[in-house]
Symmetry: C2
Subunit: 101 residues, 2 copies
Amino acid sequence: MNADKRKRLEAAGWKVGTVQEFLNLNDADMEYIETKLALTKAVKLQRKRKNLTQVALAECMKTSQSRVAKIEKGDPTVSVDLILRALFALGATRKELANAI
Amino acid sequence: MNADKRKRLEAAGWKVGTVQEFLNLNDADMEYIETKLALTKAVKLQRKRKNLTQVALAECMKTSQSRVAKIEKGDPTVSVDLILRALFALGATRKELANAI
DNA sequence: TGACTATATGCCAGAAATGGCATAGCATGG
DNA sequence: CCATGCTATGCCATTTCTGGCATATAGTCA
């Protein structure tokens, strides 16, 4: 956003800022969220690469298709632990994990 | 263990194998555990580097000293999510996280 | 020795994540 | 059009994790 537009908006009573500011996220929160997002993308990518369905992956890691869907969609009820279990079930190594982050 | 000793043990009725086999861990489990362990080590290292006490780190990440102790000791009731929060609270970046894994 | 600081361990009520199920959406091919 | 295969979403009982507190242990210094 250029300074001009910003001025006009603020003159009209708008608060201008980033999403991060709006949500009161600090750097640690941001890193955490971005890491999680990167991991979910890695899961989807690896699963597709192996031509597995969500059901198949779910069986591998002894969970349900709905959980796998939520993992890949970045559902907030999914922990990093579960995402890692998915990645490793897909045969990822620690090195590959590190690259994905 | 050399083949000789193995034979002698088995002749005497012992089962010979790795810890991994004994605990029925597959490769995915192993990678997961090792990753978690690497992360806990990174937390301890970074905290020491910054000369923080467990209490100080606990305040940073809005948890308790006992949790921090458990993180660093690899307590099984600690999730990877919490470990990551600790690392990021210590100012680690995603890149540093990747290196730690 | 005793006081002090840091870390470790046990416990538990409350909070969050999980698996499982149902079902809805959405392509693609017949 | 309807099947069929795959993915998405909602719900909820059970399981797991968390924060907080108490207390124990270990190290250091006076």
